[in-house]
């Protein structure tokens, strides 16, 4: 009898615990999103692991095992031990690691130096430079790769059409034109805005007392820089590495256009005859993502005190570059950013008026008949007007269908990822010391650290089966985009929620205001700028995403795959036109959001 009472009370106690637990909205959010995110992260990984042991008809595993179905470990043995192992695995792996590290170095150096100059010196034209500096991130990442080709390729060295420099008689060496070096530079420039935003944020808020104390102690300037200033930005550098490493590793278009064999490009080429082995490459890329996450966790645990905002000193000492120096250095950056931001847009615009792709006759001759508007205006489907069977951009249904598809996908990803991310940020901030919250926070961030091609491949395998077949549907793009971009919103929301004092919400709870009202009337309005950034980033990233979506849909579905298709076909007028449409769309969206909400990518840093 006594035993029964105990068990009843234990049961009631448990029920009570559950009820109490679920009475808090943040716990319900954590529980639900914990389950959803675990499934959306783990299921694709299981699917791709399964693919590595499955026998695929018409591929190497079927040939070696002499079976057309079933399971085998032959993909592993062949990939790691065959005579093609060096070519199919080790060289691409080495190139990928060098590319990822190199991109981190370039982006941190370029973005970091620029951030320092903008925030800690009296550099001229800061506002303009700050806005223009983030352009390479706004543009599709292969934009600069294509520009690189247009500028440096030459008939003599690369065997292709003469680029701009070659047409002036300047020939660049092969290592400069294609391969590792240009890939590192292009990806480094693309991701430099990350470093600029993260490092700049710290530089801007840094307490000048530390440097002043060193100055009072007569410490040489270079020593202050290396022993005081730079160590303070270590967390920002680590965050940049975290974001750039995975991004560079999973980049497909840049190494593809610049002729570098990486795990991503190898994944695509191996898919024809070595499908299972390609899936192993995707797993290797994913392992890097997991490893980066662990490094991040370790660094968080061991991190020393990097407090930069003390509240005791609001004054930032700015280095004087000199009367001329501040203009000379600014001019150097104006020129640099012209080539990384303005020139691509001008070059794309010009390309759409050339009679043949890459035919710069107009430049040599000044003859206006060497220009044409056909790439925009051709409307007769039966006429052979030199457009390889396509209609001009203004009349091309494929392009405009892809445009609508892109906007739809980006909008949906942004809404869903932004909302879920905000919920995660809120729930984690409310339970910041619980293991569950940490788990949800980490599992939400994991897909971002995984290379895009690998994530795309995993979702392709998961959703192209007998029971769930979503291949080539917007639903699939939205699911994948949402999973991949939740971290943008969750990190942004978490940071802003952590700044909010718990008392604000508590006072509303005391007045018995329901949770939905608390969120919509109090919490979200206070932190609207950060939360809107959490919606804006997925939207803008999704607009020009290729690596993630390229395996999930065909061209004509979204602009990025359509652009890639035209680029591969050598129809640069179309790809340039689409690039222009994309860039203009992103800039318009960024400006509207900036005007309406005050949120933007570089908000606050450039002054």
């Amino acid at each position: 009898m006594k035993q029964q009472t105990t068990s009843i009370s234990k049961g009631a106690l448990l029920l009570n615990h559950v009820k109490t637990f679920l009475s808090k909205p943040q716990n319900v959010i954590l529980l639900l999103l914990g389950i959803i995110l675990t499934v959306s992260t783990v299921a694709p990984i299981i699917a791709i692991v399964h693919d590595t042991i499955k026998i695929h008809p018409g591929t190497i595993d079927a040939y070696i095992t002499k079976k057309s179905s079933g399971y085998s470990l032959v993909n592993y043995t062949d990939l790691f031990t065959s005579r093609l192992a060096k070519q199919n695995l080790w060289i691409p792996l080495l190139n990928t690691i060098i590319l990822a590290i190199g991109s981190c170095v370039v982006s941190i150096l370029f973005g970091g130096i620029f951030a320092f100059l903008v925030t800690r010196t009296n550099l001229a034209w800061k506002k303009y430079l700050s806005s223009i500096f983030i352009f390479p991130y706004i543009m599709p990442q292969w934009t600069l790769a294509v520009v690189w080709q247009h500028v440096f390729s030459s008939n003599v060295i690369t065997g292709t059409s003469d680029g701009l420099l070659a047409s002036m008689g300047i020939l660049m060496p092969r290592w400069w034109c294609m391969g590792l070096f240009p890939s590192i530079v292009v990806l480094g420039l693309h991701y430099a805005p990350f470093a600029y935003i993260l490092v700049g944020g710290i530089f801007k808020n840094m307490d000048a007392n530390l440097e002043e104390a060193a100055t009072i102690l007569d410490t040489p300037k270079h020593k202050i820089m290396f022993r005081v200033t730079l160590p303070m930005v270590r967390p920002a550098i680590l965050s940049t590495i975290l974001l750039v490493f995975g991004g560079a590793m999973g980049s497909y278009p840049v190494p593809h256009y610049l002729n570098l064999v990486t795990l991503s490009t190898k994944y695509v080429s191996l898919n024809v005859k070595y499908k299972g082995e390609a899936s192993i490459l995707a797993i290797i890329m994913m392992l890097f993502g997991v490893a980066i996450m662990f490094v991040n966790q370790l660094s968080l645990k061991s991190r020393k005190n990097y407090t930069t905002v003390t509240g005791k000193s609001g004054q930032i000492s700015k280095i004087n570059l000199g009367k001329r120096g501040k203009y000379i250095i600014a001019l150097i950056f104006v020129i640099l950013t012209f080539f990384t931001s303005i020139f691509p847009i001008v070059s794309f615009g010009f390309e759409t008026f050339l009679p043949n792709p890459g035919d710069y006759s107009f430049l040599y001759t000044g003859n206006a008949s060497n220009l044409t508007t056909k790439w925009w205006t051709a409307s007769d489907p039966t006429a052979e007007n030199g457009l390889y069977g396509q209609l001009g951009i203004l009349h091309n249904k494929t392009i405009w269908h892809a445009f609508v598809g892109t906007i739809y996908t980006a909008f949906m990803c942004s809404i869903i990822a932004g909302t879920l991310g905000t919920m995660i940020g809120y729930a984690v901030s409310k339970n910041r010391r619980s293991k569950g919250a940490n788990y949800v926070n980490s599992v939400a961030f994991l897909p971002y650290l995984m290379p895009s091609v690998a994530v795309g491949a995993a979702f392709f395998i998961l959703f192209s089966g007998e029971k769930i077949n979503l291949f080539n549907t917007y639903t699939l793009l939205i699911i994948v985009g949402t999973v991949k971009y939740i971290p943008f919103a969750s990190r942004s929301a978490l940071n802003s929620m952590l700044q909010l004092s718990g008392e604000i919400e508590e006072s509303a709870i005391i007045q018995d205001i329901p949770w939905v009202k608390r969120m919509t009337k109090i919490i979200i309005p206070i932190q609207k700028s950060s939360i809107i950034s959490g919606y804006l980033m997925p939207f803008m990233t999704c607009l020009r995403e290729l690596s993630l979506f390229m395996l999930l849909c065909v061209q004509g579905f979204i602009l990025a795959t359509t652009l890639d298709y035209f680029d591969e076909m050598g129809l640069y007028a179309f790809s340039s036109g689409i690039n222009l449409i994309l860039i203009i769309t992103i800039l318009i969206c960024n400006t509207i959001v900036n005007k309406v909400t005050g949120a933007s990518l570089d908000s606050g840093i450039g002054g």
Binding site: P57, G58, I60, A62, Y63, S68, L84, Q87, N155, T158, G159, T160, S161, D162, A166, S167, H256, Y257, N259, V268, S269, N271, V272, K273, P355, N356, P357, G358, D359, Y360, S361, Y364, T365, N367, S369, N370, T372, P381, E384, G386, L387, Y388, G389, F460, S464, G465, E466, N469, F471, N472, L551, V554, Q555, G556, Y565, D567, E568, M569, G570, L571
Partner: protein, 446 residues
């Protein structure tokens, strides 16, 4: 003795009986492959005329949406003409359609993914790369072949007797070189001599291009390479012979014919020297430019159609190697666009009718036929197409006498097969060497 003989005979007869019975049993044991629903429709459709098929299509798909997928984007241009044809029979007929053209080899993944549904999205496909079609699509039963009655008649055969798949057309990739300099290419081995770097879609960019290399190890083309080698001057011949000697062991290992090593030698020299491009489009753009002096490439012939004359770009900056006098060896590579129904086709009758329309009428083929370098598999359609578009003289000036653009005068499929020595894809052969010769090719380093 008689008794012994009798017993032996009885045993022998019993064995024979048992053996025969066993054989009968074995035959019975072989599973009789039951036709799928789509295959049954195909069987019926193969006995129908174009008009009968059209009526079936009208009954099946009026008001529906038709999804097709192909390596060529022109299915999209052919479908409206097909719908007009059906409307000419029944004016109330209406069909919405969507035609998709995946890149990067993903057509096979799309079809594979779609095949897993009980009823697929795609009704039919226009697909290239015989090797992958054979090993991934046909042997696995994902795609079904349909031979239209009129097509079989035009080719002097019947559906049952046709071997292989149904090609819509043969396309050719040909060697072309920039002729703004003095350099000429008079032998197929010239393209792989030291210092030469032909523009070519990489072996990983376009698998159908790899099939070209596989085919060079087949007896017919290896013999042709040997013959071309014999016509080389001494110094060049020595270079080739050295490679041939070095590769004779591999040729033996792969079970190739007596001149197989010549095929391997050409492949090795080509793969280690070519300049990889993403598509034939950029190759064409490069070669027609006046700055591309002495460069050459292997590219789809029809790409020339879209070149617009300008101060630095001209179709006269290029020559088709095989058209030049005294050229020895093969002038290019021919491969097919094949037509199939998916085995879970949602609109099988409409697919059969559309396939028949494309392969048996000039209008149906016109989307492809309007360009040089694509040849209908139906001789009657091919003739009608030439009568309409005059590709053999498309490079002539309006006076019909002056040659305006020599490279545009398409000499036609017969010429290419007989005089131009076109290497033609054989899906079965390609599939048989994909993991022997194929793996060896992948191991070659630049």
């Amino acid at each position: 003795m008689k008794k012994i003989l009798s017993v032996m005979l009885i045993v022998l007869m019993a064995c024979s009986f048992l053996f025969a019975g066993g054989q009968a049993e074995t035959k019975k044991a072989e599973p009789v492959k039951e036709l799928t629903a789509v295959q049954k429709i195909i069987k019926e459709a193969e006995g129908m005329t174009m008009e009968e098929l059209a009526k079936k299509a009208i009954a099946e798909s009026n008001g529906a949406t038709f999804y097709g997928v192909g390596n060529s984007s022109r299915g999209k241009s052919a479908l409206p003409l097909f719908i007009d044809y059906l409307k000419s029979i029944d004016p109330s007929y209406n069909l919405k359609f969507e035609w998709q053209q995946p890149k990067n080899n993903s057509i096979f993944e799309m079809l594979d993914a779609d095949s897993k549904k009980a009823q697929g999205t795609f009704s039919m496909t226009l697909i290239q790369d015989g090797n992958q079609i054979e090993s991934k699509m046909v042997q696995t039963g994902l795609l079904d072949r349909f031979i239209p009655l009129e097509w079989a008649k035009a080719n002097g055969t019947t559906a049952d007797k046709v071997e292989g798949y149904l090609p819509l057309q043969t396309l050719n990739k040909v060697f072309m070189y920039n002729c703004t300099g003095k350099k000429t290419y008079t032998n197929v081995w010239d393209f792989v001599m030291p210092g030469e770097h032909g523009l070519f879609m990489g072996i990983h960019s376009e698998p159908v291009g790899v099939n070209f290399l596989y085919m060079l190890t087949a007896d017919k083309y290896a013999d042709a390479l040997k013959e071309a080698c014999d016509a080389l001057p001494k110094d060049k011949k020595a270079i080739v012979e050295k490679e041939v000697k070095a590769l004779s062991k591999e040729a033996k290992e792969f079970g190739l014919g007596k001149n197989g090593a010549y095929g391997l030698a050409w492949i090795k020299l080509w793969v280690t020297s070519y300049n990889e491009q993403t598509d034939d489009g950029p190759i064409c753009n490069t070669l027609v430019s006046s700055s591309a002096t002495d460069q050459f490439g292997l590219l789809v012939y029809s790409k020339l159609r879209s070149v617009q004359e300008s101060d630095s770009v001209s179709k006269n900056n290029i020559k088709v190697a095989a058209y030049e006098d005294g050229y020895k060896g093969f002038g290019g590579y021919g491969y097919c666009h094949y037509l199939f129904l998916t085995d879970n086709s949602p609109l099988p009758w409409t697919s059969c009718a559309f396939i028949a329309y494309m392969t048996c009428t000039q209008n149906g083929f016109n989307a492809w036929g309007k360009d040089i370098g694509g040849y209908s598999s139906n001789p009657e359609v091919a003739k009608a197409n030439e009568d309409r578009h005059h590709h053999s003289v498309s490079g002539m000036a309006e006076d019909g006498v002056t040659v305006k653009f020599k490279a545009l005068n398409d000499k036609g499929l017969d010429w290419w097969l007989n005089e131009g020595g076109l290497v033609v894809e054989d899906p079965e052969y390609c599939a048989s060497v994909a993991f022997t010769v194929g793996t060896w090719i992948e191991g070659l380093r630049k």
